[in-house]
C-alpha cells in the first residue's frame, strides 16, 4: 500500500484534485459511451421487433 490512510489516499499528497478529476471525467466518458452503445443496440432491436411483429399481424388471415 502506498498510502498510510484512506484520507491520505484521497488527498494524494496535494495532487488529489488533479488525479481524481482525471479519473472522474475519464470514467464518466467511458461509461457514457458504453451505455450509449448498449442502449442504441437494444432500442434498435426493440424497434425492429415491433416492426416485424406488426407486419405479421397485418398479414391476411389464412
Amino acid at each position: 500500500m502506498a498510502f498510510e490512510s484512506f484520507s491520505d489516499f484521497l488527498a494524494m499528497g496535494t495532487h488529489g484534485h488533479y488525479v481524481w478529476s482525471v479519473y472522474g471525467i475519464s470514467l464518466f466518458l467511458l461509461v457514457g459511451i458504453t451505455v450509449q452503445s448498449i442502449t442504441a443496440k437494444k432500442s434498435q432491436i426493440k424497434r425492429l421487433r415491433k416492426l416485424s411483429l406488426g407486419k405479421q399481424n397485418t398479414h391476411a388471415p389464412d
Binding site: 500500500m1 496535494t14 482525471v22 475519464s26 452503445s37 443496440k41 434498435q44 425492429l48 416492426l51
Partner: protein
C-alpha cells in the same frame, strides 16, 4: 497463411453471430483488467519521487492515448480495405470505431492537460505530443461529421472511406511536421512516459490498463457494429430471425 478468417469478417451475418458469442466476454474481461490495473496503480504502486502522486494519471493517460492512435490506424486501414476489397463491413467499422477513438482522444487530452498543471505549472502546452493528439481528435470529428452529413448511406460510406484513407496517409506527415515544429519552438521538454527505469510495480498495472482498455474498445465497437448492421440489414431474413429469437 489462411485468409479465410479475413473473408469471413466481411460477412455481416458471420460477424453478427461472432459478436453475439464473444463481445460480452471480451468486454467484461477488458473492463476487469482495466479496473485491476487502475486500482493497482492508484493504491499499490509506489509514489514517483519526482512527480509525487500525480503520476498516477499515467494509468489513464497512456492507455487512452495509445487507443486514440490505434483506433485511427484501424479506421484508416479499414478504409483501404474497403477501397481494395469492397468489404461491406469496413465502412460499418469506421462508423462504429470513430466515436470511441474520439472519446479516447478527449480523455488523453484532458488527462494530459490536467497532469500538466502540477507537473509543468500550466494547463496546456503546445508541445508535439499533445498537439498531435489534438489534431487526431479533429480528424476523428471530421470522420464523424462527414458520416452524419449525408442522407444516402452509400454516399456517406464512400465519403468516410475517402477521408479515413486520406487521414491515414496524412497522419505520419502531420506527426512528423508537428515534431519538427516542436523542435523549432522547444517548449518545456519533458518526457513523462519515456522513463526507461520504471519499476515493475509501476509498469505492470499500466500494461493491464492498456490491454484492458483495448479489449474494452473491441467489445464496445462490436456492439456499435451490430447496431449499425441491425439498421442497415433490417430487411434481410437473418436479421429478422435474430430480432425475434434473441432476447438480447
Amino acid at each position: 497463411m489462411n485468409w479465410i478468417w479475413f473473408h469471413k469478417l466481411g460477412s455481416p451475418k458471420w460477424f453478427f453471430h461472432w459478436a453475439d458469442r464473444w463481445s460480452k466476454l471480451i468486454f467484461i474481461f477488458g473492463v476487469s483488467l482495466f479496473l485491476l490495473g487502475i486500482i493497482w496503480g492508484l493504491v499499490f504502486a509506489p509514489e514517483d519521487y519526482q512527480q509525487g502522486n500525480s503520476f498516477r494519471i499515467i494509468y489513464i493517460h497512456v492507455p487512452s492515448a495509445m487507443l486514440a492512435q490505434s483506433c485511427y490506424l484501424a479506421l484508416g486501414i479499414s478504409g483501404i480495405v474497403s477501397l481494395v476489397w469492397q468489404m461491406k463491413m469496413a465502412p460499418i467499422f469506421i462508423k462504429s470505431v470513430a466515436p470511441i477513438g474520439a472519446v479516447m482522444a478527449i480523455i488523453a487530452l484532458l488527462s494530459g492537460a490536467i497532469w500538466g498543471k502540477p507537473t509543468w505549472g500550466t494547463w496546456w502546452v503546445w508541445d508535439a505530443r499533445l498537439t498531435s493528439v489534438l489534431v487526431l481528435f479533429i480528424l476523428y470529428m471530421g470522420v464523424i461529421a462527414i458520416q452524419n452529413s449525408f442522407d444516402d448511406t452509400r454516399l456517406s460510406d464512400k465519403a468516410a472511406v475517402v477521408i479515413s484513407v486520406v487521414g491515414l496517409i496524412n497522419l505520419p506527415i502531420i506527426k512528423y511536421s508537428v515534431d519538427w515544429w516542436n523542435t523549432l519552438h522547444q517548449p518545456a521538454t519533458f518526457s513523462i512516459i519515456e522513463k526507461p527505469s520504471m519499476p515493475a510495480e509501476m509498469w505492470v498495472p499500466l500494461l493491464f490498463c492498456v490491454v484492458g482498455l483495448y479489449l474494452f474498445t473491441v467489445g464496445v465497437t462490436c456492439w456499435r457494429m451490430q447496431t449499425e448492421l441491425l439498421i442497415r440489414e433490417k430487411r434481410s431474413n437473418w436479421i429478422k430471425a435474430e430480432v425475434l429469437d434473441s432476447g438480447v
